[in-house]
């Protein structure tokens, strides 16, 4: 519950005014509804009493009937305003929460980020945040508005009807309503949370199934993955059935509470009226108001069904919105830069250092190749130069500033595993340079000997599938290199850039890069002769 309140406050932060106004309107709707029914009941019964007594001519019909019409119309309008306001504010808060989550994700360490699974992160940002819309809409707003209405009804009914009727109605609604909610929540919490986690497991497994189905088919594992998906679905269905049972029971219990409150108002008020202590018209106010107050507890039913889902989502979302406080970073450096490693040592945790006391300077316009067997730390050097890893000792600098002082992207790293996205070729290129003109895109493609291929595929607007599917390995490589050129980097870091290319294409691509970026300091992790040959200097690790 504390977690939910925390999320509610988080959502309130940006939308405080709208949510507070929405809350006020919610309470107003409930109050008007109760007044409308209470007044109508009183009006009819009082009118019949006056008619029976033969004093109908002096009975003031106009003010009450005008009031009835006024309440009917304004309640409807208020209800519309309340719904639009609360939903809009909630959806706004949720959209913001999604963005916060994504922003928090993007500040994670590089090591954690590369192991991030898209499907799981998607669950956080989509499903978990979706689950939180109930926190204001179906939990806190109805609880607060309903509670306020009940307190007001206690006062007004004591004044207009009788304190005994008022106390009975108030007691049954508040104790009964809260009791049902607590009981329902206790029972539904676990299955509702399970249903949600099973649904998320289904989603992740299904995405896995679709994206690896060819490999799975090859190894005869397709049915196994199907079974895994089905398992998740079966678990979801079982848990959802249990949740639904508890929700229906809670719904039925809330109806019992409402019926008991109305019946007690009828009984106490009727008995008082029969004894002549109050008029039948005043007894009618009690009964009709109690009928209308049913609306204060009815929405809680959905809260019971969703509470487990909401708590689970709140817990995960809260854990992931905590962002480290980052110092203000410098904007990307301008002009030629030299890249300097001075006495750099790097180790993960307490493991043996991958790199110790490493020194290197790459001047503007210079190409340096790093060679050495797999696992010797070539990629680590590049990641350090990109500011994606932090050294234990020493400094990695661009001119005189440490590279980690800049915003991410001060240098440009083309890693081994090219990250392309679903969308057009132009979209993929403009990830690096959103303002680039079509001519600039074509020039970059020409530099990596890819212009003819792209033209053959239908130009810059040709669409790529998920993760850039639709290009061969070599084409993917060259597209990522073209993207790097577009950034016009002063420091370019290439991790085995010509892998999957034949010798002729490799040479053309490397020459193209050099021509496009004459002033860049270039550091290459290279094991191919073509790559080492393109360098001015080779460093063995």
């Amino acid at each position: 519950m504390a977690k939910l309140w925390h999320i509610f406050c988080l959502m309130m932060r940006g939308e405080r005014r709208s949510l507070l106004r929405g809350l006020a309107l919610s309470a107003l709707v409930l109050i008007m509804g109760a007044s409308l029914l209470g007044l109508s009941g009183w009006f009819i019964v009082a009118a019949s009493a006056a008619g029976l007594a033969g004093v109908g001519a002096v009975f003031d019909v106009f003010r009450p009937s005008a009031m009835v019409r006024f309440l009917a119309v304004t309640r409807t309008a208020t209800r519309y305003g309340e719904r639009v306001l609360t939903h809009d504010a909630t959806l706004r808060a949720l959209a913001k929460l999604r963005v916060t989550l994504l922003a928090a994700l993007s500040t994670r360490s590089h090591d954690r980020l590369i192991r991030l699974r898209g499907a799981q992160a998607l669950n956080r940002i989509v499903a978990d945040v979706d689950a939180l819309d109930g926190v204001p809409l179906r939990l806190f707003l109805p609880l607060i508005a309903g509670g306020a209405t009940q307190v007001l009804a206690l006062a007004v009914l004591s004044w207009l009807v009788d304190w005994r009727v008022a106390v009975a109605v108030f007691g049954i609604f508040t104790l009964g309503g809260l009791g049902v909610v607590l009981w329902g929540v206790r029972g539904a919490r676990v299955p509702s949370r399970r249903a949600e986690s099973a649904a998320q497991a289904f989603r992740a497994r299904f995405i896995d199934l679709v994206s690896t189905r060819e490999d799975l088919a090859l190894y005869g594992q397709l049915p196994d993955q199907l079974v895994a998906c089905r398992d998740a679905e079966t678990r979801r269905q079982t848990a959802a059935t249990t949740t639904d049972l508890r929700e229906r029971q809670a719904g039925a219990a809330l109806m019992v509470v409402s019926a008991l409150a109305a019946a007690s108002a009828l009984w106490i008020g009727g008995t008082l009226a029969a004894a002549g202590e109050i008029t039948p018209a005043r007894a009618a106010i009690g009964f009709f108001t109690a009928l209308a107050l049913m609306e204060t507890v009815a929405p809680l039913r959905r809260a019971v069904a969703e509470i487990g889902r909401m708590i689970g989502a709140a817990r995960r979302v809260t854990a992931q919105t905590e962002m480290p406080d980052l110092p203000d970073a410098l904007p990307w450096p301008e002009g030629p830069q030299s890249l300097t490693f001075s006495s750099v040592t790097f180790a993960r945790g307490t493991a043996r250092p991958v790199l110790s006391d490493f020194n290197l300077t790459v001047a503007p316009g210079e190409w340096v190749a790093l060679k050495g067997p797999s696992g010797v730390g070539k990629s680590t050097v590049l990641l350090l130069a990109a500011g994606a890893l932090r050294q234990v000792n020493g400094e990695v600098c661009l001119n005189d500033q440490p590279v980690t002082a800049f915003l991410p992207g001060a240098t440009t790293l083309v890693g081994q595993r090219a990250a392309l996205i679903q969308g057009t070729i132009a979209e993929n290129l403009r990830l690096a340079a959103p303002e680039a003109t079509d001519e600039a895109l074509w020039a970059a493609l020409a530099a990596t000997a890819l212009d003819k291929v792209v033209a053959g595929k239908g130009g810059l607007d040709a669409r790529l599938g998920p993760r850039g599917a639709g290009l061969s390995g070599g084409e993917t490589r060259r597209l990522v290199l073209a993207r790097a050129i577009l950034r016009q980097p002063s420091v370019l870091l290439l991790d085995e850039p010509t892998e999957g290319l034949d010798t002729e294409t490799s040479d053309r691509v490397l020459a193209g890069i050099r021509a496009a970026l004459p002033e860049a300091a270039v550091l290459i992790a290279a094991h191919r002769a073509e790559e080492q040959g393109a360098a001015d200097r080779i460093l063995s690790l």
Partner: protein
């Protein structure tokens, strides 16, 4: 509204929705009638309450307070039970429909290849997941509300006319306005729902891809722009959702207004009549106090089913939008896998592969392959420039793609749906772009079997496993994030070796590897070949090609073989 719509005899989405519900029609109908019966029981319940007040007013006839209270609670219990049971039936029916459809999507997608018209895995998961769930409210809310609309208002109308023709007239006039208005709202609601559904799908696709690439996107300095773009997309989705909700709220507001005005008019007429101010509208000696109170209690419930229906109207719009997408998804003739991808006994006979007249269509381009005859134990390199179609040939040989022309013969039999699974049981496969399931590395290699020491040393995995935080139990990113390119490739090698293959199909097995590791991978593959396995590699690597005994040249304009 401006979008052109295809005219068909029955709208495909409606037809699809009907088909979806067909299996559970009886349960839904029964439950709907139960909710109608529960709503109708309000009539006697209200009559009892009116009786209590009539007796209080006149001091005679009617119902005593105690009897009234007991009867009120009795009817309430009865209605509650009916509702409770009906909700249970509806929930089960809805679950059955959703689960069945989900299974259908699952099975079909498992055997499809290529991209669906709906989009990538993210969009498909959205359809199979939360979008299908949008059918539930339609089944549990809309269907029963429809039945109540057909029954409850008519019963109340009859009682109204029995007590007072004026009240009856108010109902007759106010009632039909509601469906007319709803039909108008319905159009707008459906269109808005469709747009919202599309947005949900594309948001999923936008994210699933970019999240997997987030590390690289940040290195490009593009994270702030990604966040900005996502903010826009999230905002668009909010806008579209609000558009749907606004229509829903507006329609229910108008209905509430009709209902409120109707009730207010009834209340005013009843009040004036009881006062004796009005002498028209009822029969004989005007309306009795009982009749007046009874009518007032019934008036809101005359409109209630219509209001329920309108509240559920956007449930219907959402369900139709989902049904429409399902229809589009089903209408798309996806390329299918040969066979089922199941684990079966391997195909018998020597693993000889022969192709004749093979060609594959790629968009407007036709890739024609030279005829090949690959004997068991052969070491074959497929070479050719990037994009010539080397990978495609490997896929065809593995039964992952159907050639547009020509035939593949494996182990003396035609490669077909019947033989593909058994053929694949003899294959090892090293794709160029490794993909990892969201399970342990161990499962990704041997699919549940423990990793033998031989396997680890053959694939040179020892150091790789030692460097991972949880060893072979580590869960990696979708494309092997957490490993270097060379490491990921060695994992693919280990997976191919673990299958104890007779034929290994490897796509650029030495790409991303330094000489030393490339040599180790090559040796591991050649060691397999020495044990009698056939080796078919698509590669540029001259050193690897030199170790093969046969080269099949694949040129963009058609290739030739030499040995």
């Amino acid at each position: 509204m401006t979008r052109p719509k295809k005219r068909r005899p029955v709208a495909p989405d409606r037809q699809r929705l009907k088909t979806l519900l067909a299996g559970e029609n009886r349960a839904i109908k029964l439950a709907s009638y139960m909710t109608a019966a529960s709503a109708l029981l309000w009539l006697p319940q209200a009559a009892v309450v009116a009786g209590v007040f009539a007796r209080l007013l006149t001091g005679e006839g009617g119902v005593t307070v105690l009897t009234g209270v007991i009867a009120f609670l009795g009817f309430a219990a009865l209605r509650l039970m009916l509702n409770y049971l009906a909700e249970g039936l509806l929930f089960r029916a809805g679950q059955n429909i959703v689960t069945r459809t989900r299974q259908e999507i699952l099975v079909r997608e498992a055997n499809s290849l290529g991209t669906s018209p709906l989009g990538g895995p993210g969009a498909l998961a959205a359809l199979a997941g939360e979008k299908l769930d949008a059918l539930l409210p339609y089944i549990t809310r809309y269907a029963p509300a429809q039945t109540r609309v057909m029954t409850v208002p008519f019963a109340i109308l009859a009682i109204a006319f029995w007590q007072s023709w004026a009240v009856g007239l108010v109902f007759v006039i106010a009632g039909p306005l509601i469906p007319v208005f709803m039909a108008l709202v319905g159009y707008a609601a459906k269109e808005a729902s469709e747009r919202q559904m599309q947005e949900i799908g594309s948001l999923g696709d936008l994210l699933v891809d970019r999240l997997a690439a987030l590390a690289d996107i940040r290195l490009l300095g593009a994270a702030p722009r990604l966040i900005e773009r996502f903010e826009q997309a999230a905002d668009d989705l909010r806008d579209r959702t609000m558009a749907v909700l606004r229509i829903a709220f507006l329609s229910s507001t108008v209905l509430e207004l009709f209902a409120a005005l109707g009730v207010a008019m009834v209340a005013v007429w009843v009040g004036f009549s009881l006062l004796g101010e009005l002498s028209w509208g009822a029969y004989g000696g005007g309306i009795t106090p009982w009749g007046g109170i009874f009518l007032l209690l019934l008036a809101p419930d005359y409109f209630q089913p219509l209001r329920d229906l309108s509240a559920a109207w956007h449930d219907k719009a959402a369900a139709l939008a989902v049904a429409g997408e399902l229809d589009a998804w089903q209408a798309h003739e996806a390329e299918t896998l040969l066979g089922t991808g199941d684990k079966v006994a391997p195909l018998a006979g020597p693993a000889r592969i022969r192709t004749s007249g093979l060609s594959v269509t790629r968009g407007s381009r036709v890739i024609a392959y030279p005829d090949a005859d690959i004997l068991p134990g052969a070491r074959v390199a497929l070479s050719g420039p990037s994009g010539a179609g080397k990978t495609t040939l490997l896929r065809v040989l593995a039964g992952l793609e159907r050639p547009s022309r020509g035939a593949v013969e494996v182990a003396g039999q035609a490669l077909s749906d019947d033989t593909a699974d058994a053929w694949r049981a003899r294959l090892g496969w090293m794709p160029q772009a490794p993909m990892f399931l969201g399970r342990s590395l161990r499962h990704n290699i041997a699919f549940g079997a423990p990793l033998s020491a031989d396997l680890i040393s053959d694939a040179a995995l020892k150091q790789v496993l030692a460097a991972l935080p949880k060893g072979d139990l580590t869960v990696l990113g979708e494309t092997g994030g957490g490993l270097s390119g060379g490491e990921a490739r060695r994992v693919m090698l280990a997976r191919a070796l673990a299958a104890r293959p007779d034929v290994v199909l490897a796509d650029e097995p030495t790409a991303d590897l330094d000489h030393e590791t490339a040599d180790r991978v090559t040796e591991a593959l050649l060691a397999l070949a020495d044990r009698g396995a056939t080796l078919i590699v698509a590669t540029h690597d001259a050193r690897l090609i030199a170790r093969m005994d046969q080269v099949i040249e694949i040129a963009p304009e058609g290739g030739r073989a030499h040995g």
